[in-house]
């Protein structure tokens, strides 16, 4: 157990990985576009613009290197990466780890976004991302960058994913989850594993209303269509699948937000629950009087597993 901040925790994981992974390379994109490129055995500092850095890193990844692209020094990296990833064909997507700093978690199509909140989670996220078979984006919050905490030396401690055989990830902060708080959880790989362990339901769920009252009210219909297209299902199927997860007849509104980085929680003014489907996460805002905690959990678990997305569960008591 060592006391580290986010940067040192990630660096420690990379140093640890460099000892076992011969093909590891860390590409650091310099903020100064006229800087001299520096090439060390495992580290490359390049004066590239953000999206050129992504293409360069993808080239390395496709040629067989386990590549970590560090764009923490690039301003507006999130938007530039999003545009570049949007334009990237699926065939070109090799396993790649992108590390960036942003106060808001960007929506990133086709990538797994992990937003660790402390050094321990940063280390686990980097360990997970180095094993993942997809593009992983680790978004560090600059406000937490220099906060230190105890980081275990266990190389098997992962965060935000359990799709590695034999790995036993923990459900982060689930045990301490309280109403009004939020937690990032991952899509469960096994059916027996819940997405997040919730405390017992504070209220008894009401009797089913008998009639399925599902409405799709997208703030931006194009966004919803785009999400469904990315997930390779029709918009109606997406809506039906989200609804089917409830197992109850509570009123659920499927909301999408076209502004990346906006709060994932949309207050359910006109519904008992809101399920927010983004490119990289799901959010549920629900009324415990209308929807039991078990039903909410099932909705999130099944939808997250179906879409293979990390989910953000926000518990909010209404009324």
């Amino acid at each position: 157990m060592s006391r580290m901040n986010c940067g040192t925790a990630i660096q420690a994981v990379l140093d640890e990985a460099a000892e076992t992974m011969d093909n590891l390379i860390v590409i650091h994109v310099d903020a100064n576009p006229t800087a001299e490129p520096v090439s060390l055995s495992r580290r490359l500092t390049l004066p590239l613009s953000g999206d050129a850095g992504l293409a360069f890193a993808l080239g390395c990844a496709q040629a067989g290197l386990r590549t970590v692209l560090d764009v923490t020094a690039v301003r507006d990296a999130g938007e530039r990466l999003r545009a570049a990833l949007d334009a990237l064909p699926r065939a070109s997507r090799a396993p790649l780890v992108i590390r960036m700093r942003a106060r808001r978690c960007p929506a990133m199509p086709g990538a797994r976004v992990i937003a660790p909140v402390n050094a321990r989670e940063c280390a686990g996220a980097m360990r997970f991302a180095l094993r993942a078979a997809q593009i992983c984006l680790i978004v560090e919050n600059p406000l937490n960058a220099y906060d230190a905490c105890e980081v275990p030396d266990d190389p098997e401690e992962l965060f935000a994913g359990d799709d590695q055989p034999g790995a036993e990830p923990e459900a982060p902060v689930a045990d301490e989850l309280k109403e009004g708080e939020s937690a990032d959880v991952s899509a469960p790989a096994a059916e027996s594993r819940p997405a997040v362990v919730l405390p017992p339901s504070p209220v008894t769920a009401p009797a089913p209303r008998g009639e399925l009252a599902f409405r799709s009210r997208a703030y931006d219909p194009a966004e919803l269509t785009r999400t469904a297209k990315l997930l390779d299902i029709t918009r109606d199927e997406l809506a039906a699948l989200c609804c089917a997860g409830t197992g109850e007849s509570a009123e659920v509104i499927l909301e999408t937000d076209s502004e990346p980085g906006e709060s994932a929680c949309i207050p359910p003014d006109r519904a008992d629950a809101c399920l927010w489907v983004g490119f990289d996460r799901l959010s549920l805002c629900w009324n415990p009087r209308a929807l039991s905690a078990q039903a909410a959990r099932a909705l999130m678990r099944e939808t997250a597993a179906l879409l293979e997305l990390p989910a953000r569960l926000i518990l909010e008591r209404k009324g």
Binding site: P37, A52, A55, F56, G59, Q62, A63, G64, P89
Partner: protein
């Protein structure tokens, strides 16, 4: 090492495939020659995809411009592996190209870039590339027989660790004589027949 006859027939097969996919003919000719010269383990970026060179003869293969940074990244990976691998790519002339050129020169990457350009634009392209200290070779993009030595030089140079090269495939260079066909495939066919490597019936 293939003999000239085998090499030209391989280039013809690749060129027929690339021309069938449409796109820029001089670039297709340069891509076909490059692919014929690459070994197993080398990489070629055609269009959005980065493929092992040996897969070019099987399956679909695009000739459209690739991202030069993607090719530079692949070349960097091959350099790190230190197995003599070469990355090649057909790219368009954009600002991104010069960013990748600058990087490839500084890191001495094993990279061969193919750019299609008109004769009028050749001077400006050459001067910008040479200003970045990168060797560039202008060549008639419609003649396989002229592309072959230039590309062999570039690929061998990259494989030896002597740095990147840009091949400027001139699309509208004046023909040597009036009887020379403009189409690269037709021109290659006439060479194969003239040299006795194939009969007109075999090339149908």
């Amino acid at each position: 090492m293939l003999c000239l006859k085998e090499l030209l027939l391989k280039i013809r097969a690749l060129l027929s495939r690339l021309v069938a996919h449409g796109g820029d003919e001089p670039l297709a000719a340069a891509a076909a020659v490059t692919l014929a010269l690459l070994d197993a383990g080398d990489l070629y970026a055609g269009g959005p995809a980065l493929l092992p060179a040996e897969s070019a003869l099987s399956g679909d293969f695009g000739v459209g411009p690739a991202d030069p940074s993607l090719a530079a990244g692949a070349a960097c990976a091959l350099q790190k592996k230190n197995e003599g691998g070469v990355a090649a790519a057909a790219v368009a002339e954009t600002e991104r190209l010069y960013e990748a050129i600058s990087l490839a020169v500084r890191l001495n990457l094993p990279l061969v870039l193919l750019v299609s350009c008109s004769e009028a634009a050749l001077d400006e392209l050459s001067s910008r590339v040479m200003a970045a200290d990168m060797e560039c070779i202008p060549v008639d993009g419609r003649s396989v027989m002229k592309l072959l030595p230039a590309l062999r030089l570039a690929v061998d140079k990259a494989r030896e660790g002597d740095g990147p090269t840009l091949i400027e495939c001139v699309a509208d260079q004046p023909l040597d004589d009036e009887d020379t066909p403009a189409d690269p495939l037709e021109r290659l066919n006439s060479v194969l027949i003239l040299e006795g490597y194939a009969t007109p019936e075999e090339l149908l």
